[in-house]
Amino acid sequence: MIERIKLLFAEAVDVKTALLSNGEASIEIAYLSSLCKEDKINNCIMVPFTKAEIPFSRHLETNPEYEQVEDPAKWQDMLLRGYVLIQSHSIIYSFLASDVISSDGSLTQVESAIQGPQLALSEDLNKSLNLIRSMYPSPELCVEQYTVGYESRTPLYILFDQRHVDSMVLDNVRSKLTSINADIVHAAGELEKLLVGKRLHLFPTVLITERPDRISRSIGKGKVVVLIKGSMFALILPATFFEFMHAIEDNYEAFWMTRFLIFLRFASIVLTITLPALYIAVVSYNPELFRVQLAFSIAASRSAVPYPSFIEVFIMLFMIETLIEASIRLPRYIGSTATTVGGLILGQAAQQAGLVSSIMIIVTSVVAISNFVIPINSMSFAIRFLKYPLIGAAIFFGLSGIAVGVFLYIVYLCNLRSFGKPYFRLHGKLNPAEGDIGGADIK
């Protein structure tokens, strides 16, 4: 039986098989350790078998919890549902020892979905694996174990579906994991930096998530998932820019609304990156860009402001960034106070004092709000930085500077590769007989 199960399942560390013998008889057992309660297996199989107070085959025959399995085709399925298979005298018995994590798991906090699975990954590797195994019950799921960090010896699991995974990506990940040179690794973000290897990067090229449903979907698409012990977050790689714009709820809700939401996210990215720079360019370089009435109202609202537009922008952006930062770092009950005070200053007082124009306040709040629309936190952080270089370009070159700056961002995005895969690429329909562009090179 054991040989056959090893053939059925992809190589995974949690597929446990054993040949037990207590002098009189010998049995073979097989189970998935991540899906089963090991103490139940101990109490109901190991202990009775090793004590052998009554012959174990009698035990199997009498206790209705051990069910006979006639059809070997069912083995895979039963193991994936948390059964233990026992072979005694060439008869196969099954025994349910599944460990279902439901209410005792922690809830999602960073990437919440209104309707959809609410459980997040656990800091315990086995519990996380249990969640993923139960959401992705496939025998093709490979689980490999690694350790990183000379001092911390942090265990990692690599998960992938061996039918769909891209072997180039997998080799790349394996070689990078074995060559990681660090003393202590604790967090998923830290591991991401070590895996990517580049010190200066603007965009996250690895998706960090806490949602098991996102993970199981990505495994189905052929991605590699890295689980790290002691962190509720897993890494999904390779990632594309468009996945960062995709909230997991887009799969669960009505089609047109979710398309609209995705469009909304892209629109808000454009706004949050370019709006402060556009403000500078329009006020200081090209007031004729806007229609006359709008240009006048902008100029009128700026009439009390004594300094150039970019100083105004710097003041307001400094305020809003510190406000966001403070409300993240503060304990939850003080946090609301900070936002109230900050909101008061940003809302009215600064404008009435003649420090900034009222249009600038709108710009600032649009920038901040549209930044929060991005579903993945690491991308939201990356986007937060992007407006500053554009502000620089706008100060010196006006509108054309912004256009060139945006062009450079697009070049940079197109140039990024996530583990050898293009990062910023529209995937249209692909004819598998023709192959992909750039495919001629890879051999």
Partner: protein, 366 residues
């Protein structure tokens, strides 16, 4: 995958506005432009058919590889250097035209040389990236900008100011034999296929070119819009007064709703993006052709790290472009562009014919 060929065609076809094609055509509007416009789709479709047909026998190979298989080294080297020069010229002309435009309409106070420098630096950086990156970049820029272009064209075509009578007057000169310059300018629309001479490296071996019938039709539509819309706006005589014809035409339109009133700003930003992409693609190809001269060079479409030779070549290109800007004034630029368009037409015919014959020879049993 055919969409990638479509992008290569489209972005060159749209760039005609920056390379003075409307101006040259309008200069010759009474002697042969209309005929040239009608002839060029035939010329273009023959070229496209021959070139794609020939290249489908050389899957995953660019021009440098194909040439070095069949010709002696000195010939390949000379040809590649000439080719690189041609590409460099076209993009420099575009970059310079755009720097002047920005200076005139966006930042009248700024120094043209500084504007030129940021344009060439940005596209120079972009051109050092890998071939795959440049291809993806073309796709993204096209997808972002083409809706706006369609919107502008829609506004123009439906505008009540478009005078159909003057279009009719000019269209009546269809029986005049086209001059060389107007023919060269009109065929420029169809020249996007020549980008395959490098980007063919990206296409997978089993790739087949499809929908080839679409390109002459699309090119003809672009050409008609390019030529006749300014005439409709400025009249059959008025068009000759402008060099940056389309910018002025875009400026004659107004958007009644929304933040931006003058269409020209939209137009300029869209074409700034397209010019940057055009310069990037042209310089990237020129760079790869130069690298193809070196015997030790192996063609790579997506190297993880840009080799130093990329930076060196592109550094020379940017410096040369800025020098060109210093030495050449706008009048000379226009003359050089016209000459370039004519030389380009003949070079292309030569290249396409050569590659076509090579591909046939390959079929024949030795």
């Amino acid at each position: 995958m055919n969409r990638y060929f479509f992008y290569l065609f489209l972005f060159v076809a749209l760039m005609n506005i920056m390379i003075f094609v409307p101006h040259i055509l309008n200069d010759n509007r009474f002697d042969g432009s209309v005929a040239a416009i009608l002839i060029s789709p035939i010329f273009g479709s023959i070229m496209i058919y021959m070139f794609t047909n020939a290249l489908s026998r050389f899957p995953g190979q660019g021009l440098p590889e194909i040439f070095s298989q069949y010709f002696p080294r000195w010939f390949t080297t000379a040809y590649m250097i000439f080719y690189a020069m041609m590409y460099w010229f076209s993009s420099t002309v575009v970059a310079m035209a755009f720097a002047v435009l920005i200076n005139r309409f966006f930042n009248p106070d700024a120094n043209v040389l500084i504007i030129m420098s940021i344009i060439v630096l940005a596209s120079g950086y972009a051109a050092t990236r890998s071939t795959l990156t440049v291809m993806l970049l073309i796709e993204i820029i096209i997808i972002l900008n083409v809706p706006i272009i369609l919107f502008i064209i829609f506004k123009m075509v439906t505008s009540p100011q478009l005078n159909l009578d003057s279009i009719h007057v000019v269209a009546n000169y269809v029986w005049h034999w086209p001059s060389l310059a107007s023919l060269a300018a009109a065929t420029f629309i169809f020249t996007g296929y020549i980008n395959l001479s490098l980007f063919n490296r990206l296409f997978p071996p089993n790739f087949r070119f499809k929908f080839l019938w679409m390109y002459p039709i699309l090119g003809l539509i672009i050409l008609l819009v390019t030529f006749f819309v300014p005439i409709g706006f400025h009249g059959s005589q008025g068009t000759a007064q402008y060099i940056y014809l389309w910018t002025i035409t875009a400026d004659s339109l107004m958007m009644q709703y929304g933040f931006i009133e003058r269409v020209m700003f939209l137009f300029l930003i869209v074409f700034l993006n397209l010019s940057l992409v055009y310069t990037t693609a042209a310089w990237h190809q020129a760079m790869e052709f130069l690298k193809g001269c070196m015997p030790s060079m192996k063609p790579e479409t997506d190297s993880p790290k840009a080799p130093i030779s990329n930076y060196v070549i592109l550094g020379i290109f940017t410096m040369a472009s800025i020098l060109y800007m210093v030495m050449v004034n706008e009048n000379m630029n226009l003359a050089i562009t016209t000459a370039w368009l004519i030389i380009r037409m003949f070079t292309e015919v030569a290249t396409v014919a050569t590659v076509f014959i090579l591909s046939r020879r390959r079929l024949m049993p030795r």
